[in-house]
Amino acid sequence: MDGPILSVNDLKTTFQTANGIVRVVDGVSYALRRGETLGIVGESGSGKSAASLSLMRLVPEPGLIEGSITFDGTDLLSLSASEMRKIRGRRMAMIFQDPTASLNPYLKVSTQLTEITRLHRGYGRVEARSHAVEMLRTVGIPDPERRIDDHPHEFSGGMRQRVMIAMALSCGPELLIADEPTTALDVTIQAQVLDLIRELKERSGTSVILVTHDLGVVAGMADNVIVMYAGRVFEQASTRDLFARAANPYSIGLLKSMPDPAREISGPLYQIPGLPPDAANLPIGCPFAERCYRAEEICRREAPPFIEVAPEHYSLCHFAADVYAGHTPAPEFGL
């Protein structure tokens, strides 16, 4: 029971895109301890969802997942499809930004919630229903005995998100993968949903992977963080270390471009110039070089190394140590 709940090694995922087969996750490794929350951040298109879907082996054909994913001692990539189905939804569950991705609009919530526990836990009809009502109550749906027979569209956005969480949690998974669960929600409802995830963790010790593009969400939720860019891990650290002393120009850019309401800002916000590169046409060298304030000639020529700048604190950068030491601070407003 002491080993990590999940360990991912050199994960590489390819997708079939309009531009042919594209590698959208390129060498991601991490370990998640039991009861821990790992935040995965990065701009859109950096491969966060692809990396998360890979864990569930939900990558559409002819996409490919390489490397190794070990869940509680089991190598997931060597399982048969039916063995994988037994783990998915029961021991590992996923929630999405868009609840319609996992809720069927034509079926009552009660049908969808009871189906899983009847399948995975062998519950009878009555038992499954009372369990489902309990789950809805747990996630804060008022009047669950009545609401359980509603269809998904009869719930507001925030409530629908809760229904999806109830469904993901109904078999008591050991690992919850939440892919931008609050991105489409108001801050007030976001706070409720994040509170709910915190509470569940405390109560049942669930391990969580929380994907978000909002570093503010990471700051309040995650123990450790992975910063992704162009399918790669650009920085990996404890949340505290990352915020206290980031070691990668990209992470620094993300941190600085977020307005901190607690501080007075005069003048423009820090901005990272340009856009993330197209996964199908990555430049040689560092994929961030074109947008980077620290870049030198070598960055456009050679892929950067992954350097341990401090214990358990890694940065993918030719100048990781220099950036970590603060020798070349980012320009005040970005490039």
Partner: protein
């Protein structure tokens, strides 16, 4: 920005009702999406408008531009009442009043190239001769930070942030004075949000633009807006400078909104006191009586269910609508402690049919 001069935009008692056929027993319902809003916006100012989805921000923004017909109240643009203008006069006026939308995907015609999208308003208002129009389009594109190589591409070939730049270029094409920016950054990554905020601020400085900046993100409003108005169920419940609304909020609702904002600092996050609001925004079809916030307010007392609070100047240039605070006692926490145990603090005016009391919101602020 000075406050003594005549405001560029003056909104007085603006009300917008939608009638919706959907109801429990098939009855026609009216949704008061905007309920007696009064606001002034000075020339060159950015007024931020925040509130949860469904509180009426977009409706208010559209009604100010008369893209949605108000059911009551008026909007003055440089002192002229927009509602009294004929359709053709309004069309001419619309040139000065533009809108930028949240959804950079839905708001651009997918079958038009960038060039056509930006040319359209220039042609419609005959703002450039045929020979100048190409130069004008290129200039606009450059202003918003796009390359002229992008001119003959279609919206689908751009990222969200780039599409937002195209929408901004289109709005700027007619040289407006006033822009309603309706959640212009909500659909974008944080890094791209910073780019768009900086662009909007630079354009404002260069062209003296006036903005109504709508957002559900207080972090952005705090940074962008000179003054911020907080909206709840169709009403403005607090208004002050952007800084003061954030650092010294008076309304329990505003406090709750702020406490829900994620802070980019793990230490601050670990220390902070959260006020997590229960439940969703109530349905505007059947809004709560009295203070619209009383169903979720941790400080609500019995009177809050009956009395409609007025927007009152509690501190200099800081207005709030809550019966538990007043200029002498602006801090609701202190008041709540002092009054605990007290019963009704309010003498009832007239009683409504169900025993509740409604007091007409008079025009204020």
């Amino acid at each position: 920005m000075t406050t003594d001069q005549e405001p560029l935009i003056s909104i007085r008692g603006l009300t917008v009702s939608y009638s919706s056929g959907r109801g429990l027993i098939g009855k026609r319902h009216t949704v008061k999406a905007v309920d007696g809003v009064s606001l002034d916006i000075a020339e060159g100012e950015t007024l931020g408008l925040v509130g949860e989805s469904g509180c009426g921000k977009s409706t208010l923004g559209r009604a100010v531009l008369r893209l949605t017909e108000p059911t009551g109240g008026e909007v003055l643009f440089r002192g002229r009442n927009l509602a009294e203008l004929s359709n053709s006069a309004m069309r001419a006026e619309r040139k000065g009043l533009q809108m930028i939308f949240q959804d950079p995907y839905g708001s651009l015609n997918p079958r038009m190239t960038v060039r056509q999208i930006i040319e359209e308003p220039i042609r419609a208002f005959r703002l450039a001769g045929c020979s100048d129009i190409g130069a004008r389009v290129r200039e606009l594109l450059e202003t918003v930070g796009l390359a002229s190589g992008h001119l003959d591409r279609y919206p689908s070939e751009f990222s969200g942030g780039q599409r937002q730049r195209i929408g901004i270029a289109r709005a700027l094409a007619v040289e407006p004075e006033f822009i309603v920016a309706d959640e212009p950054i909500s659909a974008l990554d944080v890094s791209i949000q910073a780019q768009i905020i900086n662009l909007l601020k630079r354009l404002q400085a260069e062209k003296g633009l006036t903005y109504l900046f709508i957002s559900h993100d207080l972090r952005a409003v705090r940074h962008v807006a000179d003054r911020a108005a907080v909206m709840y169920l169709g009403r403005i419940v607090e208004i002050a400078s952007g800084r003061e609304v954030y650092s010294d909020p008076l309304m329990p609702y505003t406090k709750a909104l702020i406490s829900a904002v994620p802070l980019p600092d793990p230490n601050a996050e670990a220390r902070r006191q959260r006020i997590v609001l229960k439940g969703d925004l109530p349905s505007p079809i059947d809004p709560p009586t009295g203070c619209p916030f009383h169903t979720r307010c941790p400080y609500a007392i019995n009177d809050c269910r009956y009395v409609v609070p007025q927007l009152v100047e509690i501190k200099p240039k800081h207005h709030a609508a809550c019966i538990r605070i007043n200029p002498e006692n602006p801090d609701i926490d202190t008041n709540a402690k002092a009054e605990s145990g007290a019963t009704s603090i309010f003498e009832h005016g007239s009683s409504g049919s169900n025993g509740s009391i409604r007091i007409d919101p008079s025009k204020s602020a």
